[in-house]
Symmetry: C2
Subunit: 268 residues, 2 copies
Protein backbone atom coordinates (compact mmCIF):
# COMPACT_ATOMS: atom_id res chain seq x y z
CA UNK A 1 0.00 0.00 0.00
CA UNK A 2 2.95 2.35 0.47
CA UNK A 3 6.64 2.61 -0.36
CA UNK A 4 7.14 5.07 2.49
CA UNK A 5 8.17 4.23 6.06
CA UNK A 6 5.43 2.72 8.19
CA UNK A 7 5.09 1.28 11.65
CA UNK A 8 3.39 -1.69 13.25
CA UNK A 9 1.46 -2.05 16.50
CA UNK A 10 1.99 -4.63 19.23
CA UNK A 11 -0.79 -4.69 21.83
CA UNK A 12 -0.36 -6.58 25.08
CA UNK A 13 -3.73 -7.44 26.56
CA UNK A 14 -5.42 -10.26 28.47
CA UNK A 15 -6.21 -12.96 25.90
CA UNK A 16 -7.47 -16.52 25.92
CA UNK A 17 -4.70 -17.47 23.46
CA UNK A 18 -1.88 -14.97 24.03
CA UNK A 19 0.21 -14.37 20.89
CA UNK A 20 3.94 -15.20 20.94
CA UNK A 21 5.12 -11.59 21.35
CA UNK A 22 8.88 -12.30 21.26
CA UNK A 23 8.37 -14.10 17.92
CA UNK A 24 6.34 -11.16 16.57
CA UNK A 25 9.12 -8.84 17.68
CA UNK A 26 11.76 -10.93 15.90
CA UNK A 27 9.77 -10.82 12.64
CA UNK A 28 9.30 -7.04 12.96
CA UNK A 29 13.05 -6.56 13.25
CA UNK A 30 13.91 -9.11 10.54
CA UNK A 31 11.57 -7.31 8.13
CA UNK A 32 13.36 -4.02 8.76
CA UNK A 33 10.48 -2.24 10.46
CA UNK A 34 11.91 0.59 12.56
CA UNK A 35 8.78 2.24 13.97
CA UNK A 36 6.74 0.26 16.49
CA UNK A 37 3.75 1.29 18.57
CA UNK A 38 3.24 -0.71 21.75
CA UNK A 39 0.01 -0.64 23.73
CA UNK A 40 -1.60 -2.36 26.68
CA UNK A 41 0.03 -3.84 29.77
CA UNK A 42 3.71 -3.86 30.69
CA UNK A 43 5.57 -3.41 27.39
CA UNK A 44 8.89 -3.49 29.30
CA UNK A 45 10.89 -6.43 27.87
CA UNK A 46 9.69 -5.84 24.29
CA UNK A 47 10.52 -2.11 24.47
CA UNK A 48 14.05 -3.04 25.59
CA UNK A 49 14.49 -5.37 22.61
CA UNK A 50 13.09 -2.81 20.16
CA UNK A 51 15.20 0.05 21.52
CA UNK A 52 18.40 -2.00 21.40
CA UNK A 53 17.63 -2.57 17.68
CA UNK A 54 17.34 1.22 17.18
CA UNK A 55 13.60 1.23 16.63
CA UNK A 56 11.53 4.34 17.27
CA UNK A 57 9.02 3.20 19.88
CA UNK A 58 5.70 4.88 20.61
CA UNK A 59 3.66 3.66 23.56
CA UNK A 60 -0.10 4.18 23.53
CA UNK A 61 -1.74 4.64 26.92
CA UNK A 62 -4.90 5.88 28.58
CA UNK A 63 -3.37 7.17 31.83
CA UNK A 64 -0.58 9.60 32.72
CA UNK A 65 0.84 7.07 35.19
CA UNK A 66 1.36 4.54 32.39
CA UNK A 67 2.84 7.25 30.14
CA UNK A 68 5.37 8.11 32.84
CA UNK A 69 6.30 4.43 33.29
CA UNK A 70 6.78 4.06 29.53
CA UNK A 71 9.10 7.08 29.47
CA UNK A 72 11.23 5.38 32.15
CA UNK A 73 11.37 2.30 29.91
CA UNK A 74 12.88 4.47 27.18
CA UNK A 75 10.06 5.00 24.67
CA UNK A 76 10.58 7.92 22.27
CA UNK A 77 7.03 9.12 21.92
CA UNK A 78 3.67 8.69 23.61
CA UNK A 79 0.28 8.18 22.05
CA UNK A 80 -2.30 9.57 24.49
CA UNK A 81 -5.63 7.80 24.15
CA UNK A 82 -8.74 9.43 25.62
CA UNK A 83 -11.95 7.84 26.88
CA UNK A 84 -13.70 8.67 23.57
CA UNK A 85 -11.43 6.24 21.68
CA UNK A 86 -12.27 2.96 19.96
CA UNK A 87 -11.17 -0.26 21.60
CA UNK A 88 -9.46 -0.36 24.97
CA UNK A 89 -10.36 2.81 26.84
CA UNK A 90 -8.72 1.76 30.13
CA UNK A 91 -10.47 1.89 33.48
CA UNK A 92 -10.18 5.53 34.54
CA UNK A 93 -12.33 7.18 31.82
CA UNK A 94 -10.29 10.36 31.46
CA UNK A 95 -11.24 12.29 28.33
CA UNK A 96 -8.74 13.71 25.86
CA UNK A 97 -9.42 17.31 26.90
CA UNK A 98 -7.99 16.43 30.30
CA UNK A 99 -5.51 13.74 29.30
CA UNK A 100 -3.74 15.80 26.62
CA UNK A 101 -3.54 18.78 28.97
CA UNK A 102 -2.02 16.56 31.67
CA UNK A 103 0.42 15.06 29.15
CA UNK A 104 1.60 18.57 28.26
CA UNK A 105 2.06 19.39 31.95
CA UNK A 106 3.61 16.17 33.20
CA UNK A 107 5.61 14.25 30.58
CA UNK A 108 8.69 16.45 30.85
CA UNK A 109 8.60 17.47 27.21
CA UNK A 110 8.53 13.94 25.78
CA UNK A 111 6.46 14.37 22.60
CA UNK A 112 3.00 12.87 22.24
CA UNK A 113 0.29 12.44 19.66
CA UNK A 114 -3.44 12.49 20.37
CA UNK A 115 -5.49 9.33 19.84
CA UNK A 116 -9.23 8.88 20.13
CA UNK A 117 -11.85 11.29 18.88
CA UNK A 118 -10.24 12.66 15.72
CA UNK A 119 -11.74 12.92 12.25
CA UNK A 120 -11.17 16.46 10.98
CA UNK A 121 -8.91 19.48 10.89
CA UNK A 122 -10.75 21.24 13.70
CA UNK A 123 -9.84 18.28 15.91
CA UNK A 124 -6.22 18.43 14.70
CA UNK A 125 -6.05 22.17 15.53
CA UNK A 126 -7.51 21.46 18.99
CA UNK A 127 -5.00 18.64 19.63
CA UNK A 128 -2.10 20.88 18.60
CA UNK A 129 -3.49 23.56 20.94
CA UNK A 130 -3.47 21.13 23.85
CA UNK A 131 0.19 20.29 23.19
CA UNK A 132 0.10 17.23 20.92
CA UNK A 133 2.42 16.91 17.92
CA UNK A 134 -0.32 15.42 15.78
CA UNK A 135 -3.27 13.06 15.71
CA UNK A 136 -3.74 9.34 15.31
CA UNK A 137 -6.90 8.17 13.50
CA UNK A 138 -8.31 4.64 13.47
CA UNK A 139 -12.06 4.80 12.99
CA UNK A 140 -11.76 7.67 10.48
CA UNK A 141 -9.36 5.70 8.24
CA UNK A 142 -11.69 2.66 8.41
CA UNK A 143 -14.15 4.86 6.58
CA UNK A 144 -11.99 5.59 3.51
CA UNK A 145 -12.06 4.16 -0.03
CA UNK A 146 -8.81 2.26 0.53
CA UNK A 147 -9.72 0.59 3.86
CA UNK A 148 -9.82 -3.18 3.19
CA UNK A 149 -13.20 -3.73 4.88
CA UNK A 150 -16.70 -4.28 3.51
CA UNK A 151 -18.57 -1.28 2.14
CA UNK A 152 -21.52 -2.00 4.46
CA UNK A 153 -19.26 -1.45 7.50
CA UNK A 154 -18.13 1.90 6.10
CA UNK A 155 -21.76 2.86 5.44
CA UNK A 156 -22.72 1.84 9.01
CA UNK A 157 -20.09 4.28 10.33
CA UNK A 158 -21.42 7.07 8.10
CA UNK A 159 -25.00 6.37 9.27
CA UNK A 160 -24.13 6.10 12.98
CA UNK A 161 -24.34 8.83 15.60
CA UNK A 162 -21.89 9.51 18.44
CA UNK A 163 -24.15 7.60 20.83
CA UNK A 164 -23.89 4.35 18.83
CA UNK A 165 -20.92 2.87 20.67
CA UNK A 166 -21.00 0.59 23.70
CA UNK A 167 -18.54 -0.09 26.52
CA UNK A 168 -18.16 -3.78 27.36
CA UNK A 169 -15.85 -5.89 29.57
CA UNK A 170 -15.68 -3.41 32.46
CA UNK A 171 -16.49 -6.32 34.78
CA UNK A 172 -13.17 -7.89 33.76
CA UNK A 173 -11.19 -4.63 33.91
CA UNK A 174 -10.58 -4.80 30.17
CA UNK A 175 -13.06 -2.14 29.10
CA UNK A 176 -13.53 -1.88 25.36
CA UNK A 177 -15.51 0.53 23.19
CA UNK A 178 -17.31 -1.20 20.32
CA UNK A 179 -19.85 -0.37 17.66
CA UNK A 180 -23.19 -1.08 19.34
CA UNK A 181 -24.96 -4.03 17.71
CA UNK A 182 -26.90 -7.20 18.56
CA UNK A 183 -23.76 -8.89 19.86
CA UNK A 184 -22.70 -6.03 22.17
CA UNK A 185 -26.29 -5.91 23.51
CA UNK A 186 -25.94 -9.58 24.41
CA UNK A 187 -22.48 -9.08 25.96
CA UNK A 188 -23.79 -6.20 28.09
CA UNK A 189 -26.78 -8.28 29.22
CA UNK A 190 -24.62 -11.27 30.17
CA UNK A 191 -22.04 -9.04 31.84
CA UNK A 192 -24.78 -7.48 33.98
CA UNK A 193 -26.74 -10.61 34.82
CA UNK A 194 -24.14 -13.37 35.07
CA UNK A 195 -24.07 -14.96 38.53
CA UNK A 196 -20.70 -16.63 37.99
CA UNK A 197 -18.97 -13.57 36.54
CA UNK A 198 -16.92 -15.91 34.37
CA UNK A 199 -15.42 -14.36 31.25
CA UNK A 200 -16.06 -17.66 29.46
CA UNK A 201 -19.78 -16.76 29.32
CA UNK A 202 -19.12 -13.87 26.95
CA UNK A 203 -15.97 -15.22 25.27
CA UNK A 204 -17.80 -16.73 22.24
CA UNK A 205 -19.50 -13.37 21.64
CA UNK A 206 -16.25 -11.41 21.97
CA UNK A 207 -14.43 -13.73 19.55
CA UNK A 208 -11.97 -11.98 17.25
CA UNK A 209 -12.76 -14.51 14.52
CA UNK A 210 -16.42 -13.44 14.44
CA UNK A 211 -15.33 -9.79 14.47
CA UNK A 212 -13.10 -10.32 11.43
CA UNK A 213 -16.08 -11.82 9.55
CA UNK A 214 -17.92 -8.49 9.97
CA UNK A 215 -15.22 -6.76 7.94
CA UNK A 216 -15.17 -9.48 5.27
CA UNK A 217 -18.91 -10.21 4.87
CA UNK A 218 -20.30 -6.80 5.84
CA UNK A 219 -22.91 -8.06 8.32
CA UNK A 220 -22.38 -5.47 11.08
CA UNK A 221 -24.32 -7.60 13.59
CA UNK A 222 -22.29 -10.79 13.12
CA UNK A 223 -19.60 -10.08 15.72
CA UNK A 224 -17.99 -7.33 17.78
CA UNK A 225 -15.92 -4.60 16.12
CA UNK A 226 -14.34 -1.49 17.54
CA UNK A 227 -15.42 2.08 16.80
CA UNK A 228 -14.87 5.35 18.64
CA UNK A 229 -17.40 8.03 19.62
CA UNK A 230 -15.96 9.85 16.61
CA UNK A 231 -18.33 7.86 14.37
CA UNK A 232 -20.72 10.76 15.06
CA UNK A 233 -18.34 13.12 13.24
CA UNK A 234 -17.85 10.93 10.15
CA UNK A 235 -20.22 11.55 7.25
CA UNK A 236 -18.47 10.35 4.09
CA UNK A 237 -16.06 7.82 2.58
CA UNK A 238 -13.24 9.80 0.93
CA UNK A 239 -9.92 8.50 -0.38
CA UNK A 240 -7.05 8.78 2.11
CA UNK A 241 -5.52 11.45 -0.11
CA UNK A 242 -8.72 13.55 -0.10
CA UNK A 243 -9.14 13.04 3.63
CA UNK A 244 -5.63 14.06 4.64
CA UNK A 245 -5.63 17.10 2.34
CA UNK A 246 -9.03 18.17 3.69
CA UNK A 247 -7.88 17.83 7.30
CA UNK A 248 -4.80 19.90 6.54
CA UNK A 249 -6.90 22.63 4.90
CA UNK A 250 -9.46 22.63 7.74
CA UNK A 251 -6.73 22.85 10.39
CA UNK A 252 -5.11 25.81 8.64
CA UNK A 253 -8.44 27.63 8.26
CA UNK A 254 -9.36 26.86 11.87
CA UNK A 255 -6.10 28.19 13.31
CA UNK A 256 -6.27 31.25 11.09
CA UNK A 257 -9.86 32.02 12.15
CA UNK A 258 -9.13 31.43 15.87
CA UNK A 259 -6.01 33.60 15.66
CA UNK A 260 -8.02 36.41 14.10
CA UNK A 261 -9.96 36.68 17.39
CA UNK A 262 -6.83 37.95 19.14
CA UNK A 263 -7.11 41.68 19.71
CA UNK A 264 -3.64 43.28 19.55
CA UNK A 265 -2.86 45.13 22.78
CA UNK A 266 -1.33 48.61 22.67
CA UNK A 267 2.39 48.40 23.44
CA UNK A 268 2.45 51.57 25.60
CA UNK B 1 -18.98 41.15 43.49
CA UNK B 2 -19.40 42.94 40.18
CA UNK B 3 -21.08 46.03 38.73
CA UNK B 4 -21.04 44.47 35.28
CA UNK B 5 -23.83 42.41 33.70
CA UNK B 6 -24.14 38.86 35.02
CA UNK B 7 -26.45 35.93 34.56
CA UNK B 8 -28.08 33.35 36.78
CA UNK B 9 -28.62 29.63 36.35
CA UNK B 10 -31.86 27.69 36.70
CA UNK B 11 -31.38 23.92 36.72
CA UNK B 12 -34.36 21.58 36.33
CA UNK B 13 -33.53 18.17 37.78
CA UNK B 14 -35.23 15.38 39.69
CA UNK B 15 -35.38 16.55 43.32
CA UNK B 16 -36.96 15.36 46.56
CA UNK B 17 -38.16 18.94 47.21
CA UNK B 18 -38.48 20.60 43.78
CA UNK B 19 -37.94 24.37 43.93
CA UNK B 20 -40.76 26.71 42.86
CA UNK B 21 -39.27 27.52 39.44
CA UNK B 22 -41.97 29.98 38.30
CA UNK B 23 -41.36 31.99 41.50
CA UNK B 24 -37.59 31.92 40.90
CA UNK B 25 -38.24 33.14 37.36
CA UNK B 26 -40.40 36.02 38.60
CA UNK B 27 -37.67 37.15 41.00
CA UNK B 28 -35.04 36.97 38.25
CA UNK B 29 -37.12 39.25 36.05
CA UNK B 30 -38.10 41.62 38.89
CA UNK B 31 -34.41 42.04 39.77
CA UNK B 32 -33.62 43.06 36.21
CA UNK B 33 -31.46 40.05 35.35
CA UNK B 34 -31.40 39.68 31.57
CA UNK B 35 -29.06 36.72 31.07
CA UNK B 36 -30.27 33.32 32.23
CA UNK B 37 -28.72 29.89 31.81
CA UNK B 38 -31.15 27.00 31.96
CA UNK B 39 -30.05 23.40 32.41
CA UNK B 40 -31.53 19.97 32.98
CA UNK B 41 -34.87 18.59 31.82
CA UNK B 42 -37.51 20.31 29.72
CA UNK B 43 -36.87 24.05 30.17
CA UNK B 44 -39.80 24.79 27.79
CA UNK B 45 -42.29 26.91 29.78
CA UNK B 46 -39.57 28.85 31.63
CA UNK B 47 -37.70 29.61 28.39
CA UNK B 48 -40.94 31.01 26.94
CA UNK B 49 -41.41 33.32 29.94
CA UNK B 50 -37.78 34.47 29.86
CA UNK B 51 -37.77 35.11 26.11
CA UNK B 52 -41.00 37.10 26.25
CA UNK B 53 -39.25 39.31 28.84
CA UNK B 54 -36.35 39.85 26.40
CA UNK B 55 -33.82 37.81 28.34
CA UNK B 56 -30.81 36.26 26.64
CA UNK B 57 -31.22 32.55 27.36
CA UNK B 58 -28.45 29.98 27.24
CA UNK B 59 -29.34 26.33 27.63
CA UNK B 60 -26.72 23.92 28.96
CA UNK B 61 -26.95 20.34 27.70
CA UNK B 62 -24.97 17.14 27.39
CA UNK B 63 -26.49 15.85 24.13
CA UNK B 64 -27.00 17.24 20.64
CA UNK B 65 -30.63 16.09 20.67
CA UNK B 66 -31.35 18.29 23.69
CA UNK B 67 -29.44 21.19 22.11
CA UNK B 68 -31.62 20.93 18.99
CA UNK B 69 -34.80 20.86 21.09
CA UNK B 70 -33.63 23.94 23.01
CA UNK B 71 -33.03 25.80 19.74
CA UNK B 72 -36.64 25.03 18.74
CA UNK B 73 -37.75 26.52 22.07
CA UNK B 74 -35.99 29.74 21.11
CA UNK B 75 -32.82 29.83 23.21
CA UNK B 76 -30.14 32.22 21.96
CA UNK B 77 -27.05 30.28 22.85
CA UNK B 78 -26.06 26.75 23.85
CA UNK B 79 -23.65 25.64 26.53
CA UNK B 80 -22.27 22.26 25.46
CA UNK B 81 -21.27 20.16 28.45
CA UNK B 82 -18.99 17.18 27.92
CA UNK B 83 -18.66 13.97 29.93
CA UNK B 84 -15.59 15.38 31.72
CA UNK B 85 -17.70 18.06 33.44
CA UNK B 86 -18.57 18.48 37.10
CA UNK B 87 -22.09 17.67 38.23
CA UNK B 88 -24.70 16.27 35.87
CA UNK B 89 -22.92 14.57 32.98
CA UNK B 90 -26.08 13.10 31.42
CA UNK B 91 -26.45 9.46 30.49
CA UNK B 92 -24.70 9.20 27.12
CA UNK B 93 -21.10 9.97 28.18
CA UNK B 94 -20.07 11.88 25.06
CA UNK B 95 -16.82 13.78 25.58
CA UNK B 96 -16.28 17.40 24.61
CA UNK B 97 -13.97 16.51 21.70
CA UNK B 98 -16.94 14.82 20.05
CA UNK B 99 -19.76 16.94 21.43
CA UNK B 100 -18.26 20.30 20.42
CA UNK B 101 -17.48 18.95 16.94
CA UNK B 102 -21.06 17.73 16.60
CA UNK B 103 -22.40 21.09 17.85
CA UNK B 104 -20.40 22.85 15.14
CA UNK B 105 -21.80 20.48 12.51
CA UNK B 106 -25.42 20.25 13.60
CA UNK B 107 -26.71 23.35 15.41
CA UNK B 108 -27.23 25.38 12.25
CA UNK B 109 -24.88 28.14 13.30
CA UNK B 110 -26.52 28.83 16.68
CA UNK B 111 -23.55 29.88 18.85
CA UNK B 112 -22.29 27.73 21.71
CA UNK B 113 -19.78 27.84 24.52
CA UNK B 114 -17.82 24.87 25.80
CA UNK B 115 -18.42 23.62 29.35
CA UNK B 116 -16.59 20.89 31.24
CA UNK B 117 -12.85 20.33 31.22
CA UNK B 118 -11.52 23.89 31.01
CA UNK B 119 -8.88 25.52 33.19
CA UNK B 120 -6.32 27.16 30.92
CA UNK B 121 -5.65 29.00 27.68
CA UNK B 122 -4.65 25.86 25.83
CA UNK B 123 -8.15 24.53 26.55
CA UNK B 124 -9.67 27.82 25.39
CA UNK B 125 -7.70 27.66 22.12
CA UNK B 126 -8.84 24.06 21.61
CA UNK B 127 -12.49 24.95 22.28
CA UNK B 128 -12.31 27.85 19.80
CA UNK B 129 -10.77 25.44 17.28
CA UNK B 130 -13.68 23.06 17.67
CA UNK B 131 -16.15 25.87 16.97
CA UNK B 132 -17.09 27.22 20.40
CA UNK B 133 -17.34 30.96 21.07
CA UNK B 134 -15.72 30.63 24.47
CA UNK B 135 -15.45 28.50 27.59
CA UNK B 136 -17.43 28.15 30.78
CA UNK B 137 -15.49 27.32 33.95
CA UNK B 138 -16.94 26.09 37.25
CA UNK B 139 -14.35 23.99 39.06
CA UNK B 140 -11.51 26.33 37.98
CA UNK B 141 -13.27 29.39 39.48
CA UNK B 142 -13.93 27.45 42.72
CA UNK B 143 -10.16 27.42 43.07
CA UNK B 144 -9.61 31.21 43.06
CA UNK B 145 -8.91 33.65 45.88
CA UNK B 146 -12.37 35.21 45.57
CA UNK B 147 -14.42 31.97 45.60
CA UNK B 148 -16.53 32.04 48.79
CA UNK B 149 -15.62 28.51 49.89
CA UNK B 150 -13.27 27.18 52.57
CA UNK B 151 -9.53 27.26 51.83
CA UNK B 152 -9.27 23.50 52.56
CA UNK B 153 -11.63 22.78 49.65
CA UNK B 154 -9.48 24.88 47.31
CA UNK B 155 -6.37 23.08 48.55
CA UNK B 156 -8.07 19.69 48.00
CA UNK B 157 -8.65 20.64 44.35
CA UNK B 158 -5.00 21.69 43.95
CA UNK B 159 -3.83 18.40 45.52
CA UNK B 160 -6.20 16.17 43.50
CA UNK B 161 -5.45 14.33 40.28
CA UNK B 162 -7.76 13.89 37.28
CA UNK B 163 -8.73 10.43 38.56
CA UNK B 164 -10.14 11.80 41.85
CA UNK B 165 -13.73 12.24 40.72
CA UNK B 166 -16.54 9.71 40.97
CA UNK B 167 -19.75 9.16 39.00
CA UNK B 168 -22.78 8.44 41.17
CA UNK B 169 -26.55 8.11 40.61
CA UNK B 170 -26.34 6.29 37.29
CA UNK B 171 -28.79 3.75 38.68
CA UNK B 172 -31.37 6.53 38.84
CA UNK B 173 -30.50 8.06 35.46
CA UNK B 174 -29.30 11.23 37.14
CA UNK B 175 -25.55 10.64 36.80
CA UNK B 176 -23.43 13.16 38.64
CA UNK B 177 -19.67 13.69 38.79
CA UNK B 178 -18.44 14.49 42.30
CA UNK B 179 -15.16 14.90 44.13
CA UNK B 180 -14.35 11.37 45.34
CA UNK B 181 -14.50 11.16 49.13
CA UNK B 182 -15.79 8.93 51.97
CA UNK B 183 -19.38 9.87 51.16
CA UNK B 184 -19.18 9.12 47.43
CA UNK B 185 -17.53 5.77 48.29
CA UNK B 186 -20.57 4.98 50.44
CA UNK B 187 -23.02 6.14 47.75
CA UNK B 188 -21.30 3.96 45.13
CA UNK B 189 -21.36 0.95 47.47
CA UNK B 190 -25.06 1.39 48.27
CA UNK B 191 -25.91 2.04 44.63
CA UNK B 192 -24.18 -1.22 43.67
CA UNK B 193 -25.44 -3.42 46.48
CA UNK B 194 -28.93 -2.17 47.25
CA UNK B 195 -31.58 -4.86 46.69
CA UNK B 196 -34.47 -2.40 46.68
CA UNK B 197 -32.85 0.12 44.34
CA UNK B 198 -34.65 2.88 46.24
CA UNK B 199 -33.14 6.35 45.93
CA UNK B 200 -34.11 6.95 49.57
CA UNK B 201 -31.22 4.69 50.62
CA UNK B 202 -28.64 7.17 49.32
CA UNK B 203 -30.68 10.36 49.75
CA UNK B 204 -29.21 11.28 53.18
CA UNK B 205 -25.70 10.93 51.74
CA UNK B 206 -26.52 13.01 48.65
CA UNK B 207 -28.05 15.80 50.77
CA UNK B 208 -27.34 19.30 49.47
CA UNK B 209 -27.30 20.59 53.05
CA UNK B 210 -24.36 18.34 53.94
CA UNK B 211 -22.63 19.37 50.70
CA UNK B 212 -22.95 23.05 51.58
CA UNK B 213 -21.29 22.37 54.96
CA UNK B 214 -18.19 21.15 53.09
CA UNK B 215 -17.76 24.60 51.58
CA UNK B 216 -18.37 26.38 54.92
CA UNK B 217 -16.41 24.15 57.32
CA UNK B 218 -13.76 22.83 54.92
CA UNK B 219 -14.14 19.13 55.82
CA UNK B 220 -14.01 17.67 52.30
CA UNK B 221 -15.37 14.32 53.54
CA UNK B 222 -18.48 15.71 55.23
CA UNK B 223 -20.80 15.60 52.22
CA UNK B 224 -20.89 15.38 48.43
CA UNK B 225 -19.61 18.23 46.28
CA UNK B 226 -19.17 18.51 42.54
CA UNK B 227 -15.83 18.68 40.73
CA UNK B 228 -14.82 17.98 37.13
CA UNK B 229 -11.98 15.82 35.79
CA UNK B 230 -10.31 19.19 35.25
CA UNK B 231 -9.16 19.12 38.90
CA UNK B 232 -6.13 17.30 37.47
CA UNK B 233 -5.18 20.43 35.52
CA UNK B 234 -5.55 22.87 38.46
CA UNK B 235 -2.40 23.53 40.48
CA UNK B 236 -2.83 26.95 42.13
CA UNK B 237 -5.27 29.43 43.67
CA UNK B 238 -4.93 32.70 41.74
CA UNK B 239 -7.19 35.74 41.86
CA UNK B 240 -9.86 35.79 39.15
CA UNK B 241 -8.04 38.69 37.54
CA UNK B 242 -4.72 36.78 37.40
CA UNK B 243 -6.48 33.66 36.14
CA UNK B 244 -8.39 35.32 33.32
CA UNK B 245 -5.35 37.30 32.16
CA UNK B 246 -3.19 34.18 32.24
CA UNK B 247 -5.75 32.21 30.21
CA UNK B 248 -5.91 35.00 27.64
CA UNK B 249 -2.10 35.09 27.36
CA UNK B 250 -1.85 31.28 27.11
CA UNK B 251 -4.54 31.12 24.43
CA UNK B 252 -2.78 33.77 22.33
CA UNK B 253 0.60 32.05 22.66
CA UNK B 254 -0.98 28.67 21.89
CA UNK B 255 -2.72 29.86 18.72
CA UNK B 256 0.39 31.70 17.60
CA UNK B 257 2.59 28.60 18.11
CA UNK B 258 0.10 26.26 16.42
CA UNK B 259 -0.29 28.67 13.49
CA UNK B 260 3.50 28.78 13.04
CA UNK B 261 3.34 25.07 12.11
CA UNK B 262 1.51 25.93 8.90
CA UNK B 263 3.87 25.68 5.94
CA UNK B 264 2.89 28.21 3.25
CA UNK B 265 2.16 26.46 -0.04
CA UNK B 266 3.56 27.84 -3.28
CA UNK B 267 0.84 29.64 -5.24
CA UNK B 268 1.97 28.30 -8.64
Amino acid sequence: MTKNPFGVNLTFLPSLNPPDFPAYTRVILEEGIRIVETAGNNPGPIVKTLKSANCIVLHKCTTIRHAQSAIKLGVDFLSIDGFECAGHVGESDITNFILLGRARQSLGGVPFIASGGFADGQGLAAALSLGAEGINMGTRFMCTVEAPIHQKVKQAIVDASETDTELVMRRWKNTTRLFRNKVTDEVVKTEKESQTGKFEEVAPLMSGKRGREVFIQGDVDYGVWTAGQVIGLIHDIPTCDELVKRIEREAEETLSRASSLVVPRPKL
